[in-house]
Each structure stands twice: as C-alpha cells, then as structure tokens.
C-alpha cells in the first residue's frame, strides 16, 4: 500500500527550521496528494491514507472501531418497540419506537417535535399556567386498559405496561 508524499505547496517552506509547522490539517482533508518529491523538504508530509479499510488513524485497535461502525450499521435491526400515538382531534395517528429513547425526557422531546406542541407530563413543575396556550397532556393506556398520566412509574416499568399513547388537550 504505497503512500504518496505531499510536498509543501508554499515556497516559504524553505525558511528556517525553527518556523512552526503550519496547521496543514485542512490541506490533508482536501486530500492533496502531489506525487513523490525527492527533495529533502522539512515540510513534506504524507497524504492521508485513502484506503478506508486499513486506516491507521486514530491509533486505536481495529476491534473497537469496527464494533462502533457495526453498531451504526445495525442500528436498524436492534430491538424495537413501536406504539401508536394519537393526538386528540386528529384522526390519523403516528407510530413511535419507545426503545429508541432512553427515558421520559427523551420521549417528550420527540413528541413535542412530532406534534409541534408542548407536552405536559407528571414531572413538569408548577408553572404549567405559563404554557397553557398550546399544550397537551400525555397519557398512556396500560395493560389493564386504564388511561394513566405518563411519568409516574420508572421508565422501565412504563415500557413493560404501555400499550399506546394519547395526547389530549389540557383541562
């Protein structure tokens, strides 16, 4: 696997060797690979290895990096748990993967975005009135068929009992 050596593109490179090497990382990213120069150039640098498979940077053992890349590929096939989500007044619902969220805060964030609103749930503080303009309450149907407010039980317990979600207008 040969590597072309990039010669410095600036003629000022022939100046004193105490000159601080300029930050050439931009150049490297542009993939400059000028063909091999025989001159003893203090600023000559090898170009970034262009073979992604056998990368030598960052200097970490291949197994760790490979696991990270595999994980990115596998993201689609790891465990999922999709539930239906309805907003009051809108007949067509959405579907949401609860396992793709790591807790209530994450879930609320997604729902706020999905439905363009502010969601109230049991961990909100007392200043609800400030939000009373456009906000909704998040509830869920549990295994017994009852409708409960989201957020009272530990996240994991919630995952094991939730069947679907509903966003209703705040009373």
């Amino acid at each position: 696997m040969g590597r072309a050596r990039a010669a410095s593109c600036s003629s000022s490179s022939t100046e004193s060797s105490t000159q601080i090497r300029r930050n050439l990382s931009t150049d490297l990213r542009l993939g400059l690979s000028i063909s091999a120069s025989q001159q003893d150039d203090p600023f000559s640098l090898p170009s970034v290895g262009d073979d992604d498979q056998a990368s030598d940077w960052p200097p970490t053992k291949p197994l760790i990096m490979r696991r990270a890349l595999e994980e990115e590929e596998n993201e689609g096939s790891s465990a999922t748990f999709f539930v239906k989500v309805y907003m009051e007044g809108i007949p067509i619902g959405r579907k949401l993967d609860l396992l793709a969220h790591d807790g209530y805060h994450d879930l609320i964030r997604t729902l706020d975005y999905m439905f363009s609103t502010n969601i109230i749930w049991s961990e909100m503080d007392g200043s609800v009135s400030a939000y009373s303009e456009t906000c909704h309450v998040l509830t869920y149907e549990d295994k017994e068929g009852d409708w409960m407010m989201v957020g009272d039980v530990p996240w994991e317990m919630f995952l094991s009992t939730v069947r679907r979600l509903k966003i209703t207008r705040a009373m």
């Binding site: 696997m1 090497r21 050439l24 200097p59």
Partner: protein
C-alpha cells in the same frame, strides 16, 4: 563467597519475583547467576527476535511460564504488513523437544497457527494457562485441540483476537473430566457457540472466577450460567438484548442481585440502548468496568450506571460519555486509578479538555490515562499537571492530527511540558496535537523515568529526536511516525540503541544510506527496512527515504524468517 548453602540462597530467591530484580540478582556473581537461572520459573521476552528459544531453554531449564511479544506496537494500527513475522511455532517446537515442563504461555502480537496450538496441547502434560493478546493465524480448530488435550487447563484467555470461526463446537471439546477452569474468555470470537456445552462446562467448573462471553450468548443463557457460577469475580456479558416484560429478563435481574462477588464487568457486545437497571445492583461493588465494546449504550445510560460505581478503580469507556459524563465520573469514582476513553467514531460524541480537567481534579488516585479527544488546550494540561503528579502512563490522542490549542492557536508544547515536569514517575507517554521541537526539549529535561514514547506528526527538526535520545536515560521503546527526523538524529548516538528494546520510524526523513550506516556500525542491532510494494523496488539509492524502519537489539543476528519485503541491512 557464599555464606549459605545453595539451597538457602535459592529459597531466598523464591521471594524475588519480578524479572527485573532477578536479572539484577543474576549479575552479582557467577554462583548467584547459576542458582538464579536454575530456579527461575517465569521468563518474559519483550521481543521474540532478541533471543532464540534454544538459548532461553538452555539458560532456564526450570522454565514453567513464558511470555513472548512479537510485532512492534504500531502493528496494532495497520502500520505493519500482514506477513511481517512473529511466528511462535519455532518456540513451541523448541520447548516441546526440550524437557521443559511448560505450564503457562502468554503471547502478545504473535502469529499462532492451529498446528502450533495442537503441538502445544500435546507436548506439556501440566499445561495450565494460555493467554493470547492481539494474536492471529489460528481458527477454532486450534482452540478445540487445547480444550481437548490440556487436562489441567485453568486459563484460556483470548483478547483482541480476530479468529476464523469454523464451528462453534470447540467448547464441546472440553472433556467431562475437565473441572479445573478458573478463567475463560472468548468474548472476541464472532461465531456461534454451543450453548448447552457451555452451560455444562460452567456447571462442572467450581473454581471458575472469570467468564467473558461472546455476542452469541443470549440473555437467558447468561442467567443460567450465573445461577451455576455465583462465585464469579469477573464477568463479560455477551448479548444483552431483551424484552423488558419477558420472564428471562425478570429472572436475570433476580440472579444478578445474588452475584455478590462480581468485581469486574465488561462486554455488552449487543445491547438494547436503554435500561441497564438490572446491572445497577452489581455496580456498587465493581472495581473494574469496561464498556469500550458497547457503542450501543447511550451516554445518558452510561451516566446512570456510573453513579452507582463508587468503588471503581479501572474504567474503560467510549467518548459517548461526553464531558458531562466524565464530570459524573469525577464526582463518583474517588478510587479511580486507570481511565481509558476510546473514540466511538460518532462525530458529535467526543470529549474535550473539560472532561480531563474534571477527572484530574476529582480522582486523586488516577495514574494511568488513555484519552482520545476532540481538542486539548495548554491551560487544561497545565491544570491537570497541577492537580495530579501521579501519572505513570499518560497517553493523549487528539483526533484531529496536529491540532493546536484551539483557544490560543499555539502548539501544545507547554501543556505536555507541564505534564512531564510534574509527573516525576512517568514511564509511558504518547503525544498528539501540534507540537514543535520544544516539547522534546522538555521531555529530555524532565522525563527521567520515561520508558516508552510514542510520537506522531510532531517536531520540526532532528533536534527534537536528539533531545529525547540524549535526555531520557531509561528509554526502552521509541516509536515515531510522520515526523521530520532524519539521519543526523538517527546516527548521532548509535550506542543508545543497544540500551533500548526497539526503535520504530515510519514516514520520517531517514534515508536508506543512513540506515545502512547504522547497521554497519552496530552489528548487534537488526535494522529492518519494511519495503511496501512500490517503494524502493528498483532503486537502491542511498538518498532515498525509507518508508518504514524497525530496529531492535538482538543476540542472535538477522532473523531467518523475514519475508521478502523485509530487508535486514
């Protein structure tokens, strides 16, 4: 000369266990040399090409445990071609022919064939322990031979291995009479494993203390294994994918609460992104946690876990923990001694100087660090040096090569200078970021105990390398890549290399002529030029720059197993 009979001296030497000390003992006088060599049981060979197996066996006939290292460190980063060397077969063959009663073999960065494992398993009746780190060249057939033939096997430990998994049946090859296992680590194997055979093996191994599973072992098997081995001290979880409402998961939670001996946890090779609460009860007793193979665990979940780990001494983690997460580590883990933060490859998940400063302030016992980060500042490094002067290992890798201090746009010379000045016991150092010759001046001046130094994309001139070679009296391993050090630096003090194990220089300014001069002057060094495809094929011009040079001291001359592309000058 001796006031005591040999047996008494030998008994005294039994208490001298470190190889360094035993080497010192053997230099005192001929009599002590003889007594020491006949009684030495554990031998460490840092470079398998520095000596021949025959000479080792000749000197230490009582050898029971052998540790061998093959390829240079930069081989880990794909800088060494596949067939460079490091074959262990000649060693095993020589040991088998001799009368050595080998019990333990530990190999790092060596090439091990199935034939070799087969020979090993058949040649030593009392063979107890095989540890392979970053090795290659064998398949699960070789493991099957070890399992089947080593009747008193205690330890089979595979780390960082890429093995061709032919069948998952090697685990069935442990005979029913094998009940001696203490440690079994096959976490890096990719293929399927016979789960029933694994369960039976664990059930008949009452001394099993360490068990690290691969990703093919599902949650319900894990639960069954833990039921059989509640005495486990070290656990590596394979697959941690579950349905939160499933009975298997509920059972596992209950079982984990009973495993009160677990002190070390690793793995999670396959994991559901959320909810590791089943693990929380185990966390309070953990001294070692390795989640560097679990990119599936999100930062928030990592943080939740860490909050329970008050006794942690060793933490290996991915940078997805973030600076905030490191703040939690600093707050929680007051006993922390070793921290490694690896890059997860995800762009926005990275740590910066903030995380490191927090750790240095919060963890007074920290002495070993490996830290991959987005950026670093001089101010942060100076603060770290002030907070903590205990570092023995300090390895910093800024992911953006040659990146300066982002605040001042200055090189990181002052920061690293502060580290070496403050940490008087520093033995290992890895540099990164924008660096000039100045940092090497500091290293040469202050890093008196430094044994290993890794340099990449640093320095301006030969002076840099010379500062290090002149100043670091205890230097053993120096590895340099992509830095402007040339023949002057290489040739100024050629005697230095006989005091070191090895020197690696790649993509530097040394020329073929310079290397040849060195090789001529120092016959007890092997100066190897690794010549990859298109470089240097037809031209033997002295002025041509050398792509990769690896030199090491040796007592046995040029090696006979060097492939075509390696020239020993």
């Amino acid at each position: 000369m001796n006031y005591f009979p040999d047996e008494v001296i030998e008994h005294v030497f039994d208490f001298v266990t470190s190889q360094k000390d035993r080497n010192a003992v053997s230099l005192v006088c001929k009599s002590w040399y003889k007594i020491e060599r006949l009684s030495r049981q554990s031998v460490f060979i840092g470079n398998c090409y520095a000596i021949s197996p025959e000479r080792v066996i000749g000197r230490f006939p009582g050898l029971k445990s052998l540790t061998l290292k093959g390829k240079p460190h930069f081989a880990d980063f794909n800088l060494l071609p596949y067939d460079w060397g490091g074959w262990v077969y000649p060693w095993v063959e020589a040991l088998a022919k001799s009368r050595v009663g080998l019990e333990e073999l530990r190999l790092k960065r060596m090439v091990v064939s199935d034939d070799c494992l087969e020979l090993l398993s058949r040649s030593f009746v009392n063979f107890k322990s095989l540890v392979l780190v970053s090795c290659e060249g064998f398949t699960t057939d070789g493991l099957a031979a070890i399992a089947a033939n080593c009747r008193y096997l205690r330890e089979l430990d595979l780390q960082e291995i890429e093995v061709d998994d032919n069948r998952g049946q090697w685990i069935s090859c442990f005979p029913d009479s094998c009940t001696s296992l203490v440690s079994l680590n096959f976490s890096c194997l990719k293929g399927e494993i016979n789960l029933t055979a694994l369960e039976r093996l664990v059930a008949r191994s009452p001394n099993l203390k360490s068990l690290r599973l691969n990703r093919a072992v599902p949650l319900d098997t894990l639960q069954k294994l833990l039921m059989r081995a509640p005495q486990l001290v070290d656990l590596g979880i394979g697959s941690f994918v579950y349905d939160p409402s499933s009975e298997a998961y509920i059972k596992l939670k209950a079982t984990l609460v009973k495993c009160k001996s677990i002190r070390s946890l690793s793995g999670f090779l396959e994991v559901v992104p959320c909810c590791l609460s089943a693990i929380h009860p185990v966390c309070q007793n953990l001294t070692s946690l390795n989640l560097s193979y679990a990119p599936g665990i999100h930062g928030n979940e990592l943080i939740k876990l860490i909050r329970f780990c008050r006794k942690l001494e060793r933490l290996w983690i991915l940078d997805s923990i973030g600076d905030r997460g490191l703040g939690v580590v600093a707050f929680t883990c007051k006993e922390l001694q070793e921290l490694r933060v690896f890059p997860s490859g995800v762009d926005n998940a990275a740590v910066t100087e903030e995380g490191l400063v927090a750790i240095s302030a919060g963890c007074p016992k920290l002495h070993s660090l490996l830290y991959f980060c987005q950026q670093m500042t001089n101010a942060a490094l100076i603060t770290v040096a002030k907070n903590n002067s205990n570092f023995t290992r300090f390895r910093l890798c800024i992911l953006d090569r040659e990146k300066p201090d982002p605040v001042t746009m200055q090189p990181l010379d002052e920061g690293f200078g502060a580290i070496v000045q403050s940490c008087k016991r520093l033995r290992r150092l890895s540099l990164s970021g924008l660096l000039t010759d100045q940092v090497f001046l500091y290293i040469g001046m202050y890093a008196e105990q430094l044994e290993m130094l890794s340099i990449a994309f640093a320095g301006n001139s030969d002076k840099g390398m010379l500062y290090v070679l002149n100043g670091c009296k205890k230097l053993r391993k120096l590895e340099i890549r992509d830095s402007p050090f040339g023949n002057t630096a290489l040739l100024t003090d050629v005697g230095k290399y006989e005091t070191m194990r090895s020197l690696w220089m790649s993509s530097c300014e040394v020329t073929l002529g310079g290397c040849q001069t060195l090789a001529k002057k120092m016959p007890r060094l092997n100066v190897e030029i690794i010549n990859e495809d298109d470089q240097m094929e037809f031209s033997l011009d002295d002025r041509q720059k050398v792509g990769k040079m690896y030199l090491y001291r040796t007592l046995v001359g040029p090696r006979k197993d060097a492939p075509d592309f390696v020239w020993t000058l």
